[in-house]
């Protein structure tokens, strides 16, 4: 069989782009899980809200896109912290299952709030020429996004790693994720660390949402559900609680989805199912994920 190189390169870049976006959102799941042992089911809906914020910023308030981006990051971060304060902080001493139920509640609340406020009518995310235009190199046609997304994600990951491994707050985060009680005894401000974690996760989801919107412009109030689930799966594949794992899991999942469809076009209708099959396989073969460690559950 003759390999169609230009096509294959396009698909790999495409898979990498999607994978990097998955990674960005998966980090939010994995960081929150690392600290609170909570699957934040509202994360995908925070992603959706960020898309709407950007949409309204550009199309209604007519703010230029380069100003909208940081603005959306700030507003989404605030939303993430607000959700933590309102829905999770009061349950700090409660059983973990209550926290999970609260997360599901927040998820439904955001989806329905968006339906009421923004209506369920599908809208189209405004295209930003610098990102959505095509670059043609020889026979390879790639959106500028194919270059920008990996670069932006790389920069954000480097920044995140710096925060986690080189700052006092990051040290606090690592300590809290291992042993919250002892961290308290060291004088670590637990609530501030948790709020910061939600803030960082939401900020990354906001960047992810805007780049996602440029790539897949169709949006409605449930647009965050499927990416949310897939990124949760990416975090599990990488080993939930592990940031590097979430990045690897996200990129792998993105490449897997795109390349399977490329090699087996007949399966394209089942595209969304691959992630779930991958989840089942990883849970059967290596339940702790690729980078996960075996942890005994704390009493």
């Amino acid at each position: 069989m003759l390999v169609n190189w230009p096509m294959l390169i396009q698909q790999v870049v495409n898979g990498l782009t999607v994978g990097c976006l998955y990674a960005l959102i998966a980090i939010g799941y994995t960081m929150v899980y690392g600290i609170l042992r909570l699957i934040n089911f509202a994360h995908g809906d925070i992603f959706m809200m960020a898309m709407y914020f950007a949409f309204f910023g550009i199309t209604v308030f007519l703010i230029p896109w380069w100003a909208v981006m940081p603005l959306v990051v700030v507003v989404t971060t605030a939303l993430g912290v607000l959700i933590e304060q309102a829905a999770y902080k009061p349950l700090r001493e409660a059983p973990r299952i209550s926290l999970l139920i609260s997360a599901i509640g927040v998820s439904y609340l955001l989806e329905n709030l968006a339906t009421v406020l923004f209506t369920g009518i599908p809208r189209s995310f405004p295209s930003v020429p610098h990102f959505t235009e095509m670059v043609i190199v020889g026979q390879v046609r790639i959106q500028w996004l194919g270059f920008w997304v990996p670069l932006i994600v790389l920069a954000l990951v480097v920044g995140l790693m710096f925060i986690v491994h080189r700052t006092k707050t990051g040290m606090g985060m690592r300590a809290v994720s291992k042993d919250m009680e002892t961290a308290k005894l060291m004088g670590v401000h637990i609530n501030r660390i948790i709020a910061t974690t939600f803030g960082i996760g939401s900020a990354l989801a906001a960047v992810g949402a805007m780049l996602w919107g440029m790539k897949y412009p169709q949006m409605q109030p449930y647009v965050g559900v499927m990416p949310g689930l897939k990124c949760f799966i990416a975090a599990v594949i990488g080993g939930i609680g592990n940031i590097t794992g979430a990045i690897i899991g996200g990129i792998l999942l993105g490449l897997l989805e795109i390349l399977i469809v490329y090699f087996f076009p007949g399966l394209s209708g089942y595209k969304d199912a691959f992630a779930f099959i991958a989840l089942i396989l990883i849970l059967l073969l290596k339940p702790t994920g690729l980078m996960g460690e075996v942890v005994t559950d704390k009493v």
Binding site: K168, M171, G172, R174, A175, S177, K178, D179, E181, T182, A183, K184, L185, M186, G187, V188, H189
Partner: protein, 246 residues
């Protein structure tokens, strides 16, 4: 001398049972005070209640003239009332140096922190050798040193230690107790909880015996060591003693 910590009729529930049924005791400034007793007597719960990790259901905890009952743990640590938890609880995913730095989490005096890290290294040279190593890879004894060093980084006025000898080899236990004496000689007040009653009473100025959530006996270290009830219950009589009783 005046007391730095005063516990009055402290009651607390832990795991659904009343673990403390009204405990009162005083910690004198500059002294080594020990709480001894069997497993489940409420020794750890007492320390955890003082640190506000467990809520007191009634009673008062007064530290340097201030009522700290129910105060945020962070604020208690800030006031110099610091605890070395049972089982060492170093952060295994942080390096030795980071574990020391996190002990100084509330401090802002960068220079003082650097000096105190050197002071900890002087006390435990092993920690300096292993400063880059993840704390999870240290031996039990080294982890206990690190736990003590980490607590010292919070600049404690009163250091509470929960079972520092637990699971350690006898030689290492001796090291740890020597360190406690050294810190005390430098002026630090120590509240020591131990199942190893013999070792604890030997170094303590004053001790309290806890039994199922109540304080049943108190006295100087020497008095308690000589007390027949204490000997029977916590120290184990020697063969010679048992024979002489016949």
């Amino acid at each position: 001398m005046s007391s730095i910590l005063r516990i009055e009729d402290l009651k607390a529930n832990y795991g659904g049972i009343e673990a403390l049924k009204g405990i009162s005791f005083d910690v004198e400034e500059g002294a080594i005070i020990t709480l001894i007793g069997a497993n489940g007597a409420g020794k750890s719960t007492t320390l955890r209640a003082i640190s506000s990790l467990v809520a007191a259901s009634s009673g008062a905890i007064e530290y340097r003239g201030e009522d700290i009952t129910g105060m945020d743990t962070r604020l208690i640590v800030e006031r110099g009332l610091v605890m070395v938890p049972e089982g060492r609880r170093v952060f295994p995913n942080l390096t030795t140096l980071e574990n020391l730095k996190i002990g100084a989490y509330l401090r802002k005096d960068e220079k003082g922190i650097e000096e105190d890290i050197e002071a900890v290294y002087a006390l435990f040279p092993r920690l300096k050798e292993r400063h880059w190593q993840m704390a999870g890879t240290l031996s039990g004894g080294e982890q206990q040193m690190l736990a003590v060093g980490r607590a010292m980084m919070s600049k404690p006025k009163l250091l509470m230690m929960d079972e520092p000898s637990l699971g350690l080899a006898p030689l290492v236990v001796k090291d740890i107790f020597d360190t406690i004496l050294k810190l005390n000689a430098e002026g630090m007040t120590i509240l020591l909880v131990e199942q190893n009653a013999n070792a604890a009473l030997r170094i303590a100025h004053y001790g309290y015996v806890l039994e199922t959530g109540l304080c049943t006996l108190e006295g100087t270290g020497a008095e308690l060591l000589g007390n027949s009830r204490v000997r029977e219950a916590y120290l184990g009589r020697t063969k010679a003693e048992r024979q002489s009783e016949r």
